[in-house]
Amino acid sequence: MIKTMKRFLGVCAMAAGVLGASGGALAEPVRTGHTLAELISERAAVVPGDLFLGALRLDLDDGGWHVYWKNVGDSGLPPKIDWELPEGVSVGEFTWPAPHAIPLATLMNYGYEHQLVLPFEIRLPQGATPGAEIELKGRASWLICLETCIPEQADLVLRLPVAASLVAAEAPGALIAEALAAAPVALTGEAMVERTDDGFRVGVRDDAVAAAATSAASARFFPDGPEIIHAAAQTVEFGPEGLSVSMTASEYAPAGEAPLSGVVVLEGEDGSRRAWVVAATPAALPAGVSGTMLSPVAAGLTLLPLLSLLGAAFLGGLVLNLMPCVLPVLSIKAAGLVHTAHNPAEARLHGVAYTLGVLVCFAAVGAILVALRMAGEQAGLGFQLQYPPMVAVFALIMFAVGLNLLGVFEIGGSLMGVGGNLADRGGASGAFFTGLLAAFVGAPCVGPFMAPAVGVALSQPPLTVMGVFLVIGLGLAAPFLLLSFTPAIARLIPKPGAWMAVFRQALAFPMFLTAIWLLWVLGGQTGADGVIAAVAGATVFAFGVWLAGRIGSGISGRAVSAGVILLAVIGTAMSANMITAPAEAAQGVASSGGEVSSEPWSPERVKALQADGRVIFVDFTARWCATCQVNKKLAIETDEAKAAFAEYDVAFLVADWTNRDSVIAAALAEHQRAGVPLYLMYPASGGPPEVLPQMLTPGLIAAAVRTAAGPGASEGLTGKGDGL
């Protein structure tokens, strides 16, 4: 709509230009597939010997269509003009505005969206005669890409009347001035580069850069050449004298010390940008250009938001106790509590050990996440269940715990006894292990309160991320910690007795159900083969523990059974790793029979459907996300939601994050989420989507559909019916 209006105005302006009595500079915009291209000039009339600026102006389609910087990054082509110039007229090189980083999957492009104005100098001969007209002709060609790339070209003309005195063209002149202002400026200070183990560290010692860095939200080095891995994360630090950027070298980096040139772009929180041309020569970096990490939002987070972030994290941890994937593990702990309820000292010890187990696991998950994101991976919460071997081994552990609860492998005790075993009476180490387990399965079950907190946290410096993760852990551990330190509550639990054996065995079944759920996840990732491998692994495992019970307590017996068990675990993981997902599984949740019909999500599909004026519902989901499955069954696949979808012709897109997918991860990050579920409802009128709550109800979906369809949508439909 706006685009059409812009174009209409452009045409009007052109018409006005043609009709203008002064007969100013005349350009003819050319519409190509995804671009409106035009040559513009800061002069409406020129004088002989004039030196002034012209520019190539490319207005690009919205929605992510982009053209390229002079260094395109991993793929693409920069725009160019092949000139056909009159005698004596010369045209200079483009001045390039500071580029933007445009990531795509594991690659990186450098370029521009929306609009690109590329200024160049035009020099006219002294002999040009007033009254005449100078005609600059050129064939502009550029590559424009969304996901796919289209080479476009246009024969452009710029006609400039020669007059006795020059006349400025205001609107084009302002565009050109804006483009020049967006171009990187020369450095007053100095730049140096040193080699690191895996790449380069560029230092910029400059007062203006140092001043800008203190308030910048992000910074990036755009190299002129191919020396770095464009898609790899850059670590930016600043100090009192300037800033430094660490980058990973590509295979095109020269061996040894060599200069490195490019552009450093600093972006403020309000989106304002400043850029400098950096030509770094090999030299050691001074200390004053580093010391403080520059990372998105880092500068802006003061104590209060941090506290509310931690508060949300604690609440999220608490809620995690109720999530379907944690509950079975917790039931084991509940059994443990029964045992220690009447021994306060032991109860406290177990409470602390359990908390420790939870914290160790969350610290590990947090550390791995931080490391992954530093390595440029788009990892989110629950990432550990995106690796099939992990899921397979995990199903095996659940199976093992279930067997243990049933009493299948209690060596030394009677087969059905309640004797020493994993988690219900295993002493402090058992409590610790339960804590580990609870946290590990709990992490992907992002509770409704936790997703926004973690989403925000992941954009924070590593220390804050770790803090948030530890507080989530504390939240998860809190109820049991409280119980174990409050004998009055614990005493309400009945005294140990024969009922406990039954209770404990009953708990084995939630564990088996969890194992089945994990196998279902694995099935989505690897197909039936992976599931069979895991089940075979479970059988070998069961054989191992049975063997252990038969052989007895000798050293060699232990070694043999431990060997068999290890074989089961390693074999399962390796086979799950080797089996690659069938194409259909990667395609996402297929719709079938009685379900609401859906199609796989992609940013392009959203754009296409929006262009058709459809209401779009996007379900970011994963098989391992229990909340997602609950929502699917209880809210999305209900008659009420289906009826609303049908009435307003809602397009239902599913983004399945069961396997790693950087496009989906990027979309989640865009909405400040680190994990699924995420539900978006795009209005029929276009524009940004409404983010629905993480706990859906059928009524909520139906209401959101009606809002998105806009006022009068259903009347419109009725009206049409009447007309017929």
Binding site: S75, A105, E147, A371, A400, N421, F433, A548, I570, P600
Partner: protein, 213 residues
């Protein structure tokens, strides 16, 4: 702390193995940025060809192998097929006993993604003559080689080492008229291998569309 009892020992061992495997999986996946460089041994691969048969690098020990990352919808690929240059190069390489493998790493649903029959139809239509079209929809082979663009070319010598990595030719454009004017780096590398010397240009920056991982 109490001593670990026996049955718990096995579980702790299991958990340790699980943790180690996760770590390994994470390290492997985080390393996908590095690419195959001339002089290095080519990464081993095993992918299905358009006929659904497994093809691996080991099948061609002792022979020169050309890898061509391709995507039939990409204008840069079209530049080299519409001009007939790619087909001519494939034919002459084939005559010299060189194994030409066209690799499609487009993910399902993205531009260039093809299934077996479609891949074969494209080969026939374009009168191309690769020894195999390899289907790499999960992008594992593409990432192992660090393939960035279509086309992105690799020449592997008979000793299994990378001889050339980079662009198909010297003029970075999508204009078909540039093909005859450009220096073709792949034919240069193949000639060098035939003559028993190293190519003058073993490494260039590839140009083209991004590989649709």
């Amino acid at each position: 702390m109490t001593m670990l009892s026996r049955e718990r020992w096995s579980l702790v061992a299991g958990a340790a193995v699980a943790a180690a495997l996760t770590a390994a999986a994470l390290i492997v996946s985080a390393d996908e940025a590095s690419a195959a460089t001339p002089g290095d041994p080519a990464p081993a691969f095993e992918e299905l060809n358009s006929a659904g048969r497994k093809v691996s690098l080991a099948d061609f020990r002792g022979r020169t192998v050309v890898l061509e990352w391709t995507n039939d919808g990409c204008p840069f690929v079209q530049k080299h097929y519409d001009s007939g240059a790619m087909q001519a190069l494939q034919a002459s390489a084939g005559k010299d006993g060189v194994v030409w493998l066209s690799v499609v790493s487009s993910k399902p649903g993205s531009q260039g993604y093809v299934m077996g029959a479609q891949a074969d139809r494209l080969t026939t239509e374009r009168k191309a003559s690769p020894a195999h079209v390899l289907l790499d929809p999960d992008g594992s082979m593409g990432r192992a080689f660090g393939a960035r663009t279509t086309p992105h070319m690799f020449v592997i010598g008979p000793d299994g080492r990378i001889v050339y990595s980079g662009a198909i030719d010297s003029i970075r454009s999508s204009d078909v008229r540039d093909v005859p004017k450009a220096v073709n780096y792949v034919s240069q590398a193949l000639e060098a291998i035939k003559a028993g010397r190293a190519p003058e240009t073993p490494l260039t920056v590839p140009y083209g569309c991004s590989v649709k991982y």
